[in-house]
Symmetry: C2
Subunit: 242 residues, 2 copies
């Protein structure tokens, strides 16, 4: 598990409690079992046995396998948002930023590609709390959309003022679509998805330019209206634990 | 189960064999059990028991539960494509056709909304043969795209020539996205999704108009390039049984 992003760089790391170490060991063992046996075939008992703890204790830290996958998503999201900062600083071009951030997402997900079917598939089901459009996901969704607000902020081509509020959600949705392509992609180094990413980023920049042209005002209002409607239809989350 | 679409209208229906009746009974019992017990909790043995046949016989007709869901998708797709003909004949406006065809899809799926989480969720998983982007789905995908080719054919606003080959795939993909919204939607009569549908259809017409404007040639070439790339990345299917 990655170091907690709350730590200040250079600061003395906070002492890790015994409980925290146990929790991390259970999580680590779960991930190993998900990778070796698949998500479906791994039971909470197998995880507890591997971690050398009572099964009741593992339920205390993680009430279900879904909680373990949610922890994985949290770590994955924090990790890739942190790594994205360098990409955002290196260019103001929307196209370059979009390619860079999504490539960073692929890099963070790369160790899990072989079992992406296990770990990400549950996210696709509309009834799963792991679905990115669900109430449970609201916090991670907000973080993701905030990252794409940084992608759009001050970029070239310039974002028309009336689109500025909705573009981050649109870019986040495109990134999910690309992650979905990536999961399906069995070409070497997921080269097909990477080509689709580069072309999609160019298309988004092209759409932005076209949206700024005279006569595109009505189209922009339609686009704002649809994305606003979709965003407002998504369930709000409960407050996340710190 | 709907009547076979191969039958000529007005022709004497072909006599139904005993095997065909057994097959239909197994399918009907499976659907009842999926609706009452949920997809996951229904076993092949429960289906055979309800249909009053040996479990080996039910495996002969349907080697797995996924084959039963695939049959459901086939019936659903045929049904909604057939019902769409009237909508397509009633207007040449892209917006009206798109709303009408997707409303027809919702109407065909309506009896299953309560257990859409069961029946459609498996389709969302990238590893499932029931996924609309999978090889097994190639036949149904081709039928779906062909329907949206009829939506685009001769419509207003006019489709620029270079987009004509790719627009049907784009419209089909939008319809899948809307079906996905519909599954999530617990508002009365899925009114939220229906509003998103109407606005999205307007947005598509707006995008088409914008694409025809002078200076949009580069954007059109990018759009064609991305959709062509995605389409060509999808696995080709094996020939479907007649």
């Amino acid at each position: 598990m990655a170091a907690s992003p709350q730590e200040e760089p250079g600061a003395e790391p906070a002492p890790v409690s015994k409980g925290q170490r146990t929790r991390e060991r259970i999580f680590g063992c779960a991930m190993e079992l998900f990778m070796s046996h698949g998500y479906e075939k791994t039971t909470m008992r197998m995880i507890a046995d591997r971690a050398g703890v009572n099964v009741a204790l593992s339920y205390y830290y993680f009430p279900s396998k879904e909680h373990l996958v949610f922890e994985f998503y949290q770590n994955f999201t924090r990790d890739f948002i942190e790594r994205s900062a360098a990409v955002l600083a290196s260019s103001s071009r929307l196209e370059a930023r979009m390619v860079g951030v999504v490539e960073t997402m692929f890099a963070a997900a790369d160790p899990y590609h072989a079992f992406a079917g296990s770990l990400f598939a549950s996210a696709a089901s509309p009834t799963s709390p792991l679905n990115p459009f669900s109430a449970d996901f609201a916090g991670l969704r907000t973080d993701g959309i905030a990252l794409f607000a940084r992608v759009a902020d001050g970029c070239t081509p310039r974002v028309p003022g009336d689109l500025a509020g909705e573009l981050p959600f649109l870019l986040w949705t495109v990134s999910l679509g690309l992650l979905y392509c990536w999961m399906h992609d069995h070409s070497e180094y997921q080269e097909k998805t990477r080509t689709i990413l580069r072309q999609s980023a160019g298309l988004l920049a092209g759409l932005l330019r076209l949206s700024s042209s005279p006569g595109a005002g009505y189209f922009r209002r339609q686009l704002v209206s649809v994305t606003h409607l979709i965003q407002s239809s998504l369930p709000a989350g409960t407050d996340r634990p710190a």
